[in-house]
């Protein structure tokens, strides 16, 4: 056959295998999410809470007598982040529940994985989407709040005794954002419908919180907090920021262990579900 005599046309692009090869996935998904006006409205409540806490910081630093009622030390950051964690759930439901489900439904995952991408890259690219959104309502305002406090009352917040606030804000924000992102992504990979995945995630999150509330209030079992993702995240915040909460007064290592187990479980689900070809046996 004469075709062997013909030459190849060589690839002329630059090396595609740079370190952030998953970036086009994240970029396109964020572009599509942020192009939705309705989604931008979801960012308003966390911004409102942030502004409220800025105002509170102003009041407690300017009027010390108010500080006797409202905490103005690290506990304020703990309370703030525990509220913001709720918004990570809302943003994840509306912004991330379809990330993998839609690719499975449309078959786009096959096109993705036929590019110079590994499955790990694909998951990393998708994970960065809810992670970015969640960090935007936890880490970023948390650090900004600290900067505001520092500017308003440097004599109070620049003390050596409060050095731990910034690492605690970073640790709590990262832990909460990462776990929530992994859970929503794992649930997204279990469905072909963004709506079903979103409802599944909301049901799981709020359902477990209801179970916790019933067990704690009905049977006075503090360990029931471990059942709820929200309570585990809050318990971690309680431990990090020294917030007093009788219901979450459990050894911090247990919720941390639960969160690590949840994250590993989600990674296992993603590992088994993220495939170019769905294998049905």
């Amino acid at each position: 056959m004469p075709i062997y005599d013909q030459g190849y046309r060589r690839y002329e692009g630059r090396s595609p295998l740079h370190q952030i090869r998953f970036w086009p996935i994240t970029r396109e998904a964020l572009r599509l999410i942020l192009a939705k006006r309705a989604f931008l409205f979801l960012l308003a409540p966390p911004l409102g809470v942030f502004l409220f806490y800025v105002g509170r910081a102003y009041v407690v630093t300017r009027f010390p007598e108010v500080g006797r009622v409202l905490p103005s030390d690290g506990r304020m950051f703990g309370e703030f982040l525990n509220i913001q964690v709720f918004f990570t759930i809302v943003l994840s439901i509306f912004g991330a529940s379809g990330l993998i489900a839609n690719d499975l439904r449309t078959g786009a995952i096959l096109v993705y994985l036929s590019r110079p991408l590994t499955r790990r890259d694909y998951v990393a690219g998708k994970l960065l989407v809810p992670l970015s959104l969640n960090l935007a309502v936890t880490l970023v305002p948390g650090l900004l709040l600290y900067v505001v406090c520092l500017a308003l009352a440097p004599e109070q917040f620049a003390k050596w005794e409060l050095w731990w606030i910034v690492p605690a804000v970073v640790a709590h924000s990262l832990a909460a954002s990462l776990v929530v992102s992994l859970v929503v992504l794992a649930i997204s990979s279990l469905s072909r419908s963004a709506r079903v995945a979103g409802l599944g995630f909301a049901g799981l999150y709020f359902g477990l919180e209801m179970v916790r509330a019933i067990l704690q209030n009905g049977f006075n079992r503090r360990e029931a907090a471990l059942l709820s993702l929200q309570a585990d995240l809050q318990a971690l915040g309680v431990a990090l920021f020294g917030v007093v909460d009788r219901q979450l007064d459990i050894f911090w290592g247990w919720p941390l262990l639960v969160l690590v187990a949840v994250a590993l479980g989600c990674l296992a689900v993603l590992r088994s579900r993220v495939r170019a070809v769905e294998i049905v046996t």
């Binding site: 005599d5 630059r14 690719d103 449309t106 994985l113």
Partner: protein, 313 residues
């Protein structure tokens, strides 16, 4: 064939590759080398064509054996995927993107800058006659347009190996013709193109090199002529229409090269099965004259009958 080309590894090679899904064998002990040019992959639905292409594209791991793509194992070598274009059979896109955005996004994975991505995306859309619809959302495309945008994403980065799963399915005759011409041109440029179909004339129009797949096995491969030569070793069917079919049947039924003679439903047609077609055609002349043969054809002359014959073996 140049010496260099002779020594080079084929762009795509299967070595005793099998793939099964639980108890179901989708591809069974396949050994084949695909050279540059267009190769048609023919088989009925469920024959294993898509599994073959997904193994070739590195999207499935062989249960046994090896599949090599551009000198690397196809499975687990995403670094070669920028030299490969895959057009899957099923829809595979983000419906909220426009055709141009869809291609541009995919091209970013291949390492081109923004301007190059856009240029290549528009060029690919032009090749499949979709440039006018580049700013429409893919979700609003017709079936034929979706097929073409899938093909465009496969060719946009000018890959060396193209794996096309039923690429003309759902297209109107005009676009079908265009895509067939496009595939032929890609083969002429020296690319390795594997194109699957269960419609024989589509593949015939693209290439003479075919592989017949059935029940996960390669039944035959090579030029259509080679497959016909293979056929000559086996019973060959000739249909004859004669003014006096009974006289013709009586004349030929005793010939040593005739296996069987059957009358058609209306009694006018005679179907003869022969083990040695050349001898049969040579001897037929005088008998045909005597019985008034007015029409003769061999169903085995077209690819369809070759396929049917081999599948039935």
């Amino acid at each position: 064939m140049s010496a260099e080309a002779k020594g080079a590894a084929p762009p795509l090679a299967f070595s005793r590759a099998s793939r099964w899904y639980g108890p179901v064998i989708a591809l069974n002990d396949v050994t084949v080398s695909i050279p540059p040019g267009v190769t048609g992959l023919l088989g009925p639905n469920g024959a294993g064509k898509s599994t073959f292409l997904k193994l070739a594209a590195g999207q499935l791991q062989p249960s046994q054996g090896e599949v090599s793509l551009l000198g690397r194992p196809a499975w687990g070598s995403p670094e070669v995927f920028h030299r490969v274009g895959l057009c899957p059979e099923t829809d595979a896109f983000w419906e909220q993107l426009t055709g141009l955005q869809f291609l541009t996004t995919l091209l970013r994975f291949t390492g081109y800058d923004e301007a190059e991505c856009r240029h290549r995306a528009e060029n690919a859309l032009h090749q499949v006659e979709l440039l006018d619809a580049k700013d429409r959302k893919v979700g609003g495309y017709s079936k034929g347009m979706r097929q073409r945008v899938k093909l465009a994403q496969a060719i946009a980065h000018e890959p060396e190996v193209l794996l096309l799963d039923e690429p003309v399915s759902g297209m109107d005759p005009v676009n079908r013709r265009r895509v067939i011409d496009l595939v032929r041109n890609l083969g002429r440029e020296g690319r390795t193109v594997v194109v699957s179909s269960h419609i024989l004339y589509e593949v015939e129009a693209m290439t003479k090199r075919v592989m017949l797949v059935h029940n996960g096995r390669i039944l035959a491969e090579g030029d259509v002529r080679e497959i016909r030569d293979l056929l000559d070793e086996h019973p060959h069917t000739v249909a004859l229409r004669a003014r006096d079919p009974r006289r013709l049947a009586a004349a030929i039924v005793g010939w040593p090269n005739v296996i069987s003679v059957n009358f058609g439903a209306e009694g006018e047609w005679l179907t003869v099965e022969t083990a040695r077609p050349d001898e049969f055609y040579g001897a037929l002349h005088s008998a045909a004259l005597g019985s008034g043969v007015v029409e003769m054809y061999s169903p085995d002359e077209n690819l369809e009958s070759v396929f049917k014959y081999l599948v039935a073996r």
